[in-house]
């Protein structure tokens, strides 16, 4: 393989060429209720070539790796087509690396039989179905991916990385007449199969909470002071701010660059935000990104001030900054784009009790269903929520969906907790530019935000 790649990287006639080859094995098991809805083993082998010629980009992805030289020629000819129209793409320098990375697995998922995996999921399923007579059905998902990737470029980099991502999710669906409520928990990690074991108590609790949510009243629309738990706050930092720190949104747009200028006050001085794949042991952790740039830890906000952003080699070159190792592709079928890795709000000083003590009427939002963002606007929803009345947690409410504008909302964070927790696991991930799901993690301590718009009837 190495000879094939090195041969293809010779005499291509372009300014820069990189090749990625990937071989991934996946196991998927999905139980719906007691029955096995999906159980499959799949294998995906392929590669891609990216070429930069005359400032234009070409890209080809394929499954027939043997024809590598031919694929390089096509990518280069496509790059020339682009360069005729617009040839202004360039790359920031990165020291070419030759390295081999293997994961440190506590329990290799390949060493566990399909039957044992299915049995563990059955246990979770049984526990949830038995947790309350109101549980209508359950879904338990398991995925493991073991991938071997090679990255090589015309500058001399040759990196072999193996990566293992294991994830599970348990969803409980409670029903009473037309009222249907669902709740889920996730588990998983990059250090092996043990990360999805031992979730029995959490699964039981998840089902119990889904049943309790049947009696919750829908929240009344309006503006509230909202306290977010670490899971909700993690989704918030990912959606509300993280996507805006991806430089491919702004690097070629002067107006947006002015809006996102380093040194701009984005939040109050208690706010710090960081992203980085170099934080070990999380779903978004790796040693080198898909351009061969070493992973780093990038401070994005310090004391409320914008101090950094996420880069690929191209966005870094265009903005005169350093590559941060955030160029990622979900597979060999796609070119790398700027993505988050592990994004989190740094610890502050306020305890949870202090945070809620002076709230007259507010909302405590727990565990995120999901979220999405479009430039400065974002929205995300809570799985479980309670009203806060006169400084105390009060009645349960449902359908809590929050929305906001990043410029106002970050300014309205007026308390940051001291209980940072990272949220890892699950079978999903982040989506952008048609590439989903990408494994990422997020995290935060509890935070309090003033004047948040909450939708409702």
């Amino acid at each position: 393989m190495r000879n094939l790649i090195e041969d293809a990287l010779r005499s291509h006639g372009a300014d820069y060429v990189d090749i990625r080859i990937e071989d991934a094995a996946r196991t998927k098991i999905t139980l719906r209720g007691r029955s096995t809805d999906e159980l499959s083993v799949s294998r995906s082998t392929g590669g891609c070539v990216r070429a930069l010629a005359g400032g234009g980009w070409g890209f080809i992805s394929f499954n027939d790796i043997a024809n590598l030289k031919h694929h390089v020629a096509l990518a280069v000819s496509q790059a020339r087509l682009v360069s005729q129209a617009n040839g202004d793409s360039l790359l920031a320098p990165v020291e070419p690396v030759v390295d081999t990375v293997v994961p440190h697995l506590v329990v290799d998922p390949k060493s566990i039989s399909l039957a044992a995996k299915q049995e563990l999921l059955q246990e979770y399923s049984q526990i949830m179905l038995g947790a309350s007579p109101k549980i209508q059905t359950t879904t338990v998902r398991y995925r493991d991916t073991y991938s071997k990737g090679i990255f090589a470029d015309s500058e001399g980099a040759f990196i072999e990385q193996e990566h293992c991502d294991v994830g599970a999710g348990c969803t409980a669906i409670a029903r009473e007449g037309d009222n249907v409520q669902q709740m889920f928990i996730v588990a998983g990690g990059v250090d092996g199969y043990q990360s999805v074991e031992g979730q029995h108590d959490r699964a039981r609790e998840c089902a119990r909470r889904a049943a309790l949510n049947l009696d919750a009243a829908p929240v009344k629309a309006g503006q509230y002071t909202v306290v977010l738990d670490p899971a909700m706050a993690g989704t918030f930092v990912h959606e509300a701010f993280g996507h805006l720190s991806e430089s491919d949104f702004i690097y070629e747009n002067d107006t947006l660059r002015d809006m996102m200028v380093l040194g701009r006050q984005f939040g109050s001085p208690i706010l710090g935000i960081t992203d980085g794949a170099a934080a070990p042991g999380h779903r978004g952790s790796y040693r080198y990104d898909d351009e061969g740039t070493p992973a780093s830890l990038t401070p994005l906000i310090r004391e409320g001030v914008l101090v950094g952003r996420l880069h690929s080699r191209e966005t870094a070159a265009k903005m005169g900054e350093r590559p941060t190792g955030n160029a990622r592709a979900i597979s060999y079928r796609f070119r790398p784009i700027v993505r988050m890795t592990n994004t989190y709000i740094e610890n502050g000083k306020t305890s949870f009790e202090e945070m809620i003590s002076d709230i007259d009427e507010g909302i405590y939002a727990i565990d995120a269903y999901g979220g999405t963002t479009a430039m400065e606007m974002f929205t995300f929803s809570a799985m479980e929520a309670f009203m806060i009345r006169k400084g105390r947690i009060a009645e349960r409410v449902r359908n809590v969906v929050l929305t906001g504008n990043v410029f106002e909302t970050l300014m309205h964070i007026d308390a940051v907790g001291n209980d940072l927790r990272m949220n890892d696991g699950g079978t999903g991930g982040c989506g952008k530019g048609g590439q989903a799901p990408l494994p990422v993690s997020d995290g935060s301590p509890h935070i309090r935000i003033r004047n948040v718009v909450v939708g409702g009837n």
């Binding site: 999906e38 499959s40 499954n63 617009n86 963002t373 929205t379 106002e408 989903a436």
Partner: protein, 445 residues
Amino acid sequence: MMDLLDMAARRADAAELYLVNSEAIPATFEMNKLKHVETRRMQGFALRVIKSGRLGFSSSTDTSEVAAQELLSAAFDSADMGEPARFDLPGPVLGGKSAAPLIYDDKIAELDAGALIRMGREIVDIITEYDPSIKCGVELERKVEEVTVANSNRGGGNYRKTTLTAMADALLVDGNDIFEVFGMDGSCRSDFDHRSVAHEVLKRVRLGRRIAKVHTGRMQVLFTHRGIMPLLMALQSALNGKTALEGASPLAGRIGQQVLDPRVCICDDPTVDWALGSCPIDGEGVQSRRTPLIEAGIVKGFYYDLQTAGRAGTSTTGNGFRRTGAGDYFEGQPTPALTNAMVAPGSESLDDMITSMDEGIIVDQVMGAGQGNILTGDFSVNVHLGFKVEKGKIVGRIKDTMVAGNAMEALNNIAAIGDRAEWAFGEYSSPAFLFSSLGVAAKGR
């Protein structure tokens, strides 16, 4: 490859092979400039076996002899633990050629990167001629796909499909205000006019130059064919045969009952010529057909794949598709999925609907569809692009606004349905809907 099917069939009760080959060429413009030209080629195949009455499944991209053997044993291994198969694989399709929708156009297959670049450039030019300060992202993609389904009952089929899609987004930034408008359309046929996407985007850019104020409260809400998506997603979930079988659908067990306004008619139709979701057979080799789901507000049926239909004691509707991952339409096992969801138009013109509004909002693009409790039909979405209507006139664009409600309740209290159904995102066709009172939450006092 067919040897593999024979090998599998000899060791199993029944076997099925699914093969897909595709080539997509996207040309991408960023910030009004051509940025990337790509070629994405993919081949993949999946083997499904029924052994001792149980289902096994495996997929691969590698066509070598060694990989084929690996695939075979993986499929049989998984069958040891698989669910009992509740169906027979279909025999030969009897409908003949005439029943198949038109989905292949040589002229699309022949389009090269140069042609796509010219089309994309035209879209950028139309938009920036109107206002040079607009920054456009545009993607033109042509795709050719070949799908084969073969099984040990001599069933299945083969088809080739071409698609041409155009996506455009226009971005205007003014201070902290970011104004973004999306457009997307496509067809299997080459006479599709990509420039219409630019005009559709511009129409809405013109309406949104001014910002208007909205107050929190209940008001009239008009959803365009694009904006109605979160409500249709709730119906799509409720009408899925699998959701119904598990009792998680609010429509489970209600076939023949009036559940929505009698003006609501929805069907799934993969037989529409040149529509993006059309195909002659589904992912299990079952012949495509039009499936009525809601007629005159009455539940007519759910949509099924073979296994779900078998478990529910009914027949497949030809909606078994293998949709999982980004374009990997072979790694997943068949599951019920819609092709072209078609919502029937009503009788009011869009202009008359707007004129009839005293005070309310128009929802055209939403953010966060599907992140709420979709099973109950509850939706609560951010209005990514919307307009304020006062005394029958659009007065400006709204910001930081959410609209919430329950899809089933809303579709039982319809003020008016538009007289034109239009394609949205190439996924479904729907008219606009006007509701007299929905919950709107906005920033401010």
